[in-house]
Symmetry: C4
Subunit: 274 residues, 4 copies
């Protein structure tokens, strides 16, 4: 954020309003932005409802162009104002900001493209800015760290689930067959996923006793397997909480960190700490 | 509760019976009240069953007025007896007590309003009073504290889920379209919620291979995402439990910490602690 | 188990075979018993399948009487052999043993009573006897202790869920009404339970936009609420595990238990321990 | 892996390529193998889709024989190259490798046997070899250790669930009966499993008030019971994590314990440890 001090006059003013939320104007801008996003996403949704489109179609198209104009202006202002333009344009929010306005222009050439505008809802993630920024980023980094620390466990877990689902899907296809609605292996695998995740639509369901027995096994397995990701995330989160008990103190002798709060001597060099 | 000693005679007697459950009369009153609430809620429910209403309609209306009379008397007695009337009237239970009798009087003007009487079931939360009050409030405060401590994590989690559900709902709308039952984006978002929470009604279900592939991804995501709130609540509860157990007390003799809350002597040097 | 030494001769022999599983005969008896229970429950199940009943009805009835005879003999032998007859008869397994044979005799007077024989499956819980008894009872006591320690939390949780389900059920009844399948409040409450527990049969589902919005809220709530019992049980189990770190040592001075494994002095009387 | 040094020339070369993934050739081979497995499983899946089979049937059969030839060659090469042939052949992957090619040869005699080829997907578990082997095996052993440590708890849990499901299934059969779709006890037990695991297909659902009340009880039980496996796995994982972190080492100077595994100096007295 230091780079902002190389901005002056209007650019600095706009930078503070658009990119920050410490000043009253910045906060006000963020709230107006969020409301606009919610309204524009609602407009896109309403346009997909046939009954509403017939009566209010022109109004909705008008509103859509209005919000697109607004967001286009905002996007251009962001590019104009920011110092490291390339970094913003290729950042997550930079790409989302662009994709949020493109579909409306595409509707000139392709009818129906406006549904893509719901990508704007990704901009809602900016909501964290309005509340105390740091705390939220802290929370979401907590979650992210917990997920990252568990990524190998999650890959092991997912590979096992996918393998299980392929085997079970094929078994049910062999047992039930096309005459009971299991018309192909991919569809049967889809059914196995629906069953193991305990979603259970019921559009396809086993009719033979053997098929229902296999389904029962898959269900009880799925019921138990859900404990694995839960256990992973819980233990990571508790680990994170425990880590907080570790002081942020740095050893004055070897400059290493990570000491327990009850440590008297540095565990790396043996020097006395604070 | 000290304020009650400013009451005398009948008012004090009624206060003890209605608001407390230490005396035999208070306990007896609470049980009668709970049974009345359950009975009156049952009456409201039965009245909504067409077959029963035809045969017993008049009896049910009679009972409804009887219970409403009872609860109105109780409500007025509470207001009469309590010292800080404004505080009671605008407290959670004060409002619930009022809303529990109002709908019956409304039926004089609007037919059908009696269904609103089920709001009486909120009065069931008074059940905690009958058992040892303190313990229950402790438990429920434990839960509340755990939820409160996690509120930012929960907002992060909910915003992510809602954004995901909007994006996925629109994708499935574009893939499946109205011809497969996904008639609008709001309905498709409803379907995405039904799928991600693993509810899976099956009233709307994808029919194309691409749609079923997307559904599979949503299901596996939902299956994994459920680990996040569980991890949050688990780690908060464990934190609470750990906090309770260890005092922050320091031994005055050897200055060591980490004593159990029931310790009388230091477990390291044997000296007496506080 | 000391009482068994007051038995002699045949009675002692039968006691050891029927009630214990330390001797080879006892183990053999237990395995035969378990297989008989599984077979007899299977017979009851098969009898309920119309196609099998037509072809094999007489065989199944015969087998049913055979197993009933066997279990009746075993029940009488247990009563004859045990010293404290009243204690056995009114114990959990004593009542289950009786209920396991009664329905067959009832079929003489009432057709169809044989379905009640599946109560025999409760006898399967005797399976723990065959494996190392102590370990299993330890495990199951662990679970029971964890559940017991959380019973107030569970009551608070259940009361909240039931109140929520009554309120939501009534709301959906008012919103959707009988024309969309929500014919009465009890049925609507049933639907709310189906939705909140993420079961989602789909036999009844909301059709109006408002109803689907309410359903979405219930689903996301249910998706989150499931974290509460999980958090409760997890934290109890971790607490149990932590407790194991506490030694079973008794203070030689004040005879109190519950010392940490790193304790040098008794935390209650200050005396030195071991 | 030491045994490999008793191989020479071509055999050693092939061994390193097929069985290891440290050399560039070994890594390249593993990737080609994984892609082949995914392609061949896809071919088997596509062949089960009627519409695709009609147009591309011959191509798919050709590809199937191509992949089978490839995997047969690989299987024979593995046997030729490995020193302890019996150990490989009867290992998990040895059996899977054989079962991955057998069904194609069986199709000469039995039409339809090719569906069994999806067993090849089990070979996907070789994916862990491509990434850093040790880390993955570590993760998956963590999971396996956690599951193994809980096996008695899981047996207790499963026996309880199965007994509950048999009892509830019979009760619903008695309440609803064949006229509401509950045609036999085994089918009713299947329904009870579908309900308790919160899958809820909805192909069979209770229609009577009593049946729906029982279903509600099963659902709320199932909703709560899911906490038990989750609690088991969570507490095991946290136990594992804690174990890793703290050494059992004692400081030789002050004899205090509880040092982190990366500690070089005692955090209490500053003396060097081990």
């Amino acid at each position: 954020m230091e780079e902002k001090y190389r901005l002056t006059g209007l650019k600095l003013k706009i930078y503070e309003v658009i990119f920050e939320s410490d000043t009253p104007e910045g906060k006000y801008f963020d709230i107006v932005l969020l409301v606009s996003i919610i309204l524009s996403v609602t407009v896109v949704m309403l346009e997909s409802v046939q009954a509403i489109k017939i009566g209010w179609g022109n109004w909705l198209v008008g509103l859509e162009w209005f919000f697109t104009g607004l967001f286009t202006l905002e996007y251009l202002a962001r590019i104009w104002v920011v110092l490291n333009k390339r970094k913003y344009i290729f950042s997550f929010f930079g790409i989302v900001d662009l994709l949020s306005v493109l579909p409306t222009y595409l509707t000139i050439f392709f009818a129906g493209a406006q549904s893509l505008l719901v990508i704007r809802s990704l901009r809602l993630l900016r909501i964290f800015r309005i509340f105390k920024l740091a705390r939220f980023i802290g929370e979401s980094q907590n979650l992210t760290t917990a997920l990252k620390a568990s990524r190998y466990k999650i890959i092991v877990f997912l590979t096992t689930v996918i393998t299980a689902v392929i085997i079970f899907g094929t078994l049910i296809f062999l047992i039930e067959g096309p005459e009971n609605g299991f018309t192909s292996i991919p569809l049967s695998i889809y059914w196995a996923i629906v069953t193991m995740t305990t979603v259970g639509y019921g559009d396809i369901a086993p009719h033979t006793t053997l098929g229902q027995t296999l389904a029962s096994i898959i269900m009880i397995m799925g019921y138990g397997i859900i404990a694995v990701p839960t256990g992973i995330v819980s233990s990571e989160m508790i680990k994170l909480k425990t880590k907080e008990k570790i002081t942020t103190q740095v050893c004055p002798h070897c400059l290493k960190e990570g000491h327990d709060s009850d440590a008297i001597y540095c565990k790396y060099c043996g020097g006395e700490i604070n």
